[in-house]
């Protein structure tokens, strides 16, 4: 038996790793690549998603993620190049259509490819910091289509051409535009900006540069603004239809710059249609349009404001300096108020009630009102006029509006103390002659002044009202106490010295009848108020005289105290010379002349006759009683020739008084400041004093300097021994 042939054992080395079929990754990739081709060729209905997903899954699982990813990049790039060629081949207007439809297809394909490679996206891409499939697809589209040499410029030119055509009135396919810009936005905001937005803005700038030049040569300002507004709205609408919302601010900035900013000055100053003529003609709509458009550019409103302000100052200056206007103060102030109303209305209805415009208006008014030194007087006269007669039969509310408007003008005044001075005079006249229409209106104005300037400004004015009231009470007491029914009746107003604008030295010899009752009153008054002194202000009184004339006609004559004194003289004599009258009455000659003038020189109303007949009173004149005086009325008012406005010398006098009153105020301010600061240099004192006093008036630095010198003389202050510029307070 032969031994069986020994079996030879061959020991295979232990296999550590089961080798996969080396063709497996290649085959699997082929399958997936095919599928991608099919997807791009719209042939996806034969594909099994499950199989493809599993294949991609297996490739990643077996560490062929790299191969899969790179394969995807290559295959997709290849397809996109092919698509690019198709798009390039599209003729003329079809180009955008083709691009859009291919983009839609690519998106759809990309979605499907992402579905298949979802597992790779979640594992391989995340682990190796790769670009996810969807983003990769967009990037490849961007690089191979949108930025390819032959498409890039053509796309841009087509888009810009469409926009241009739409601007010139053609109708374009907005839906298509929307899709294309949407595509650029989907590719990232950087792509949208680089490939479209920036050139679009440049083109718009060129377009509007040209167009605005044309417009400005052919249209007037209002028309130009209408066109600019329309263009602006068109661009905003364009953005909403087919551009990125973020482009709105950029494109409007371009239109604003080209159409408004660059022509701003030209527009505003355009002759016969620019801002000035809009203002003069109250073109509210055009002004509003200018405001809204100019507001969009940085210096736009400032430009309008400056021109408006300059115009306002100039017209205002003409108004206040016009000698014609100065003849009638009421008219003068009414003009100012009308001007203010006009601009208030413009600012309110066209300028959006812009605060800066209101400020410009205020500063312009402040500027020109103070150009005319008589403005405070005129304003006070305006008030006087209103309170005397102008407010009769006007409702309380309307009174308030008028007063408020006056207060507004008052606020513009720098020399408020001058106003106060005049106001006091006018108020005194109103109160003493009982001519004020409404007590409420008077008080209301005083309250307004008080809120504006503080209580010390109005304390004297209020004192005047109090005096009036106390006087009424006193008179009541006097009349009930006194028993005399015969003889003249007396009405006295006791005025506190200092509160009233009294003129000292007003003197005259009262007729004896009057004098006795005056003395009686004096005794009565001093018995109730000890330690006081009464002086008669005959220059401010009035008298009612009963007179009988030649044909037995009786009249009651309402005259001033002076006139009464003169007329009483003619009870004893028929004819008197000027000298006689002057001697008998002792009335100051200026007042005497004035009184005589009103008695003798008013035609048809003259109680006296004058020899020789002339308009003016001279010292040689002789007066006789005119007993042929006739009037329809029983009561006759003989008005004194009063200057409504102040005459030149009076003006100078008031001015001097004002200056005189200011001195103690300035000194008080200086002392107050130095008391607090102990040491201060000249310039700072001047500025502090100005600051403290500007609510009342603007002190002149020269005057301040004089006051300082005076204070040094009186040893309130001294100059610093080392630094002569410094002042030191001496306690």
């Amino acid at each position: 038996m032969s031994r069986p042939k020994e079996k030879i054992f061959k020991i295979e080395p232990f296999k550590h790793k089961v080798e996969m079929d080396p063709r497996y990754p290649e085959r699997t990739w082929k399958l997936l690549e095919d599928a991608i081709h099919q997807i791009y060729n719209h042939n996806a209905s034969n594909l099994s998603f499950e199989e493809l997903y599993r294949s991609a899954y297996n490739m990643v699982l077996h560490k062929y993620g790299d191969k899969l990813y790179n394969g995807l990049v290559n295959t997709m790039t290849e397809h996109l190049r092919e698509i690019g060629r198709l798009i390039e081949a599209a003729q003329g207007g079809l180009f955008l259509e083709e691009l859009n439809s291919k983009w839609m297809e690519h998106n759809k394909a990309l979605q499907m490819i992402r579905d298949i490679l979802m597992y790779m996206d979640r594992t391989y891409v995340a682990n190796f910091n790769k670009t996810p499939v969807h983003e990769l697809g967009l990037n490849l589209w961007r690089d191979n289509i949108v930025r390819s040499l032959k498409i890039r410029d053509r796309l841009l030119d087509t888009l810009l051409d469409l926009v241009h055509r739409e601007r010139t009135g053609e109708v374009i396919n907005r839906g298509l535009m929307r899709n294309i810009t949407k595509m650029l936005m989907d590719l990232g905001s950087a792509v949208y900006q680089e490939e479209f937005e920036r050139p679009f803005l440049d083109a718009a700038a060129d377009f509007y540069k040209l167009e605005s030049q044309q417009f400005i040569e052919t249209s007037d300002c209002a028309d130009y603004l209408k066109k600019a507004e329309r263009r602006l709205n068109e661009e905003i609408e364009r953005v909403s239809h087919y551009l990125d919302a973020k482009s709105e601010s950029k494109i409007t900035a371009v239109v604003e710059k080209e159409m408004i900013f660059n022509h701003m000055k030209l527009l505003v100053e355009m002759e016969n249609s620019g801002l000035v003529s809009m203002l003069t003609d109250d073109k509210y709509n055009d002004l509003a349009r200018m405001y809204t458009l100019f507001r969009r550019v940085s210096t736009g409103l400032a430009t309008i404001r400056d021109v408006m302000s300059a115009h306002l100052r100039e017209t205002g200056r003409q108004l206040v300096m016009d000698p014609e206007r100065q003849k009638d103060p009421v008219e003068f102030v009414q003009r100012l108020l009308d001007e203010k109303d006009k601009y208030d209305k413009i600012i309110n209805s066209s300028f959006n009630n812009d605060k800066t415009f209101q400020n410009a208006l205020n500063s312009a008014f402040e500027y020109f009102i103070n150009l005319n030194v008589r403005s405070p007087e005129f304003i006070s006269l305006f008030v006087d006029d209103k309170l005397r007669k102008g407010l009769k039969g006007v409702s309380e509310e309307d009174v308030e509006t008028v007063l408020d408007k006056v207060m507004m003008l008052f606020r513009y005044l720098q020399e408020k103390d001058v106003f106060e001075k005049y106001y006091k005079q006018h108020l005194a006249k109103r109160l003493l002659s009982g001519r004020t229409v409404s007590d409420d209106a008077e008080r209301s104005l005083i309250v307004k002044l008080k809120t504006e300037c503080g209580y010390q400004f109005t304390s004297k004015l209020e004192g005047m009202f109090t005096d009036m009231k106390t006087s009424r009470d006193t008179m009541q007491g006097f009349n009930t106490g006194g028993d005399s029914n015969e003889g003249p009746a007396l009405a006295v107003q006791v005025l506190t010295t200092g509160s009233w604008p009294t003129q000292s030295g007003a003197r005259c010899n009262l007729p004896t009848e009057i004098l006795s009752i005056c003395d009686k009153f004096k005794a009565y008054y001093l018995s109730t108020h000890t330690g006081r002194r009464l002086t008669w202000q005959t220059n401010m009184g009035t008298a009612d005289l009963k007179a009988t004339f030649a044909n037995g006609q009786k009249h009651e004559l309402n005259v001033s105290t002076y006139q009464m004194c003169i007329l009483m003289l003619f009870n004893q004599a028929d004819s008197l010379s000027y000298k006689d009258v002057e001697q008998a009455t002792d009335i100051p000659s200026l007042d005497l002349k004035r009184s005589l003038q009103s008695l003798a020189c008013v035609k048809g109303k003259n109680l006296l006759r004058k020899e020789p007949m002339s308009k003016d009173i001279s010292e040689e004149d002789v007066f006789t009683f005119n007993d042929r005086f006739a009037s329809k009325f029983y009561k006759v008012k003989i008005s004194t020739v009063v200057a409504q406005k102040e005459s030149e010398p009076e003006k100078v006098e008031t001015r001097q008084k004002v200056e005189e009153d200011r001195k103690p105020q300035i000194e008080a301010a200086i002392v107050r400041i130095l008391k607090a600061r102990r040491v201060l240099d000249h310039n700072n004192i001047v500025s502090e004093v100005t600051k403290q006093l500007q609510a009342r008036f603007l002190p002149n630095p020269v005057v301040i300097k004089k006051r300082i010198e005076s204070l040094i003389e009186r040893e309130f202050l001294e100059r610093d021994k080392v630094d002569r510029k410094l002042y030191r307070y001496l306690a």
Binding site: L47, S48, M112, M118, R122
Partner: protein
Amino acid sequence: MGDGRVRFDVGGTTFITSTTTIANAGQGSMLSALIDGRWHQPSDAGIFLDRDPSYFAVLLELLRTGELHVPPGMSRRALHREALFYGLLDHVKEAQRGPLNGNLVECRASISGRAIGDGIAIRASSDGGCCVAHETMVHVYDWALEEKQPLTLDYVSVNDMGFLNPERVVICTYERGEQIGGMACFNVNTGEIEHRYQVTHEGQGKNFPALAFASNHRHVFASCRKRISDYGIGVWDQTTGEHLDFFHDSEGTHLGDARKLQWLPQSNVLFVASLYPQSDNSFISLLDFRMKQKAWTWTDSKMRSSDDKLVMDTVAMDERSTVCVVNQYDNLGFIDTRLSQQAVKWNHMYTHAKLSESEEHCYSRLAACGSQVYASRRDNVLVYCCSDKEATRCIQTANLSKEGRGTISDIAIGGDRLFVLQAEENLFDVWETPILHGVGC
């Protein structure tokens, strides 16, 4: 199939479900792509899937009910793999644990490492993964607690580490010469360095000694204690690794020695704490990088009468604008960051028990989550709930302990998990709040 029904043939087993159930899978999942109109479905026999039906059944049930029931004997790991295939991994993650609540947590897993030496620090990622430092090595575990590649930065001892995101870990060490050590970002999947974060001088990048680290969604912050000119907090771009900014320590608050950094997203500030033993006194600051200024600072240098109130660890509670601190006797205290230079409100709920000299002692470590503070105390973790009314008051509500555990060296919170690292046994526990189904949802 019409009428909203879908038929699947998964590895031979037929499942019928509705399109609405599949819609629960969400846009990015394979299942919803399957039934999307984009893809043609050829046969009436249903959509074939070459997968194991038993896992599919579990996942389909998850889509139907929102609950995950893993049958006994089924490998979780395999289930996760299948979930990843279907694109349902996020659903599975979510279904496994509820929001972290110290009063309800259970110990879900105990992971033993194979590293040499004691675990010194543990950090958690936002999705529930963690990393553990052992001397020079960092061991990384993903959310499923699968161990990844161990990481090391040139075998230099780790000072601090943490996650930028679940895929990226940053390690801070001292620098050793020009090339070695410093701070770097690793990809946990490949175990390779993605960036080294360097301090740049005149275009020249240099490694630096990094002590502690924090990050927000864009930036990386680290305390740097190199020279006078590089002493403070550096800022880098997370994705490019570019050095962006440097916050120099101008007021002697030891920024460069900071051992703990924490980004506070609500207040938009960086919490920086320099503590014993790096500095003798404790300094806590909030840095506002938008304005490059200190928004708030606190130090115990003036208020410490004796050395018994050393701050050993601290954690900021962003939502409550408070900082929680713990001293060497495990006493908890709070500081209100809305007030300047305020004294610590110590919580005297328990007092210090005398330590035996022989016992190795680990100081208490802190972690915070919402209004809950977790403090390790020897082998336990104590849970404190803070009062809604008072920012600086809290009450102990739970005590987490596990049989046979030794001293705890560090704790961390992330991804609704609490990680508790043992000092000696090379072991860490994972605590989670179980999902309570049908209750108050």
